[in-house]
Symmetry: C2
Subunit: 144 residues, 2 copies
């Protein structure tokens, strides 16, 4: 479904969100550890999220990453996914046809449509704030 990079990205953003609410800044090592993700690769992904202004990075000693508290409810999963994987996941044709639409559909077009739409709605309506709270509640986990 998502690329590995995107999986790590969502995990990292969720963890960061859960810390940022209480003002805890985290560095690369802590994030990678908490997300059970490879450190150097996670660094690359955090760079992307930072450039897209979804998280903020603070350089230098005692630096790290954080998310502005006021953004937490505005940042949706769709923003993270789009930044890392692009939007092909709900725009592209299920069978990979260059052109596929209602007028000239692939044989799977209509069967796929409702699923892609549901996915889109889910990603666009789920906020980092929401995910972060599942972590804090202990209702959900990021490592196993």
């Amino acid at each position: 479904m998502f690329s590995k990079a995107c999986e790590y990205g969502i995990r990292a953003a969720t963890f960061l969100a859960s810390c940022s609410e209480t003002g805890e800044r985290k560095n690369l090592k802590q994030i990678a550890e908490a997300c059970d993700a490879p450190e150097a690769f996670t660094a690359k992904i955090l760079q992307i999220l930072s450039k897209e202004d979804l998280i903020s990075s603070i350089k230098g000693a005692f630096g790290g990453y954080e998310i502005s508290t006021h953004k937490l409810k505005d940042i949706k999963l769709s923003h993270i996914v789009k930044a890392i994987d692009g939007d092909n996941i709900y725009k592209g044709c299920g069978l990979g046809l260059a052109q596929c639409n209602e007028k000239k559909p692939c044989p799977l077009h209509f069967q796929f449509k409702s699923i892609r739409d549901e996915l889109k709605i889910m990603l666009e309506s789920t906020s980092l704030w929401e995910l972060a709270h599942e972590l804090k509640d202990g209702t959900a986990l990021l490592k196993r």
Copy 2:
């Protein structure tokens, strides 16, 4: 969503199904052309489908590929997808966690569940016969 191999595989199987109903055997070249897929790569995919007994291959002159008519309604999309991509698409965790279930879910588990279930049901209930008929009707196309 699906790998390129799987996209080609579904296209090829759909095309083959639409021909097999009228007893038309097709060879690699014809299939690749009809599906707008690279020939040599398509050959590999047809081999997989053949080994999984989803299509039958006939060697030698005037050979090619076909699908037993009586199987057309029984072969579901899920069979093709599982043969090529495996079943991670509806079994795996959306965030890539090794263990993720109702008891110990990832933060996205429940939001994903309905989508994955819907996808599973769609793949398991859509038959090659159904897709093939969309092609024949002209309601759907495989190339653009």
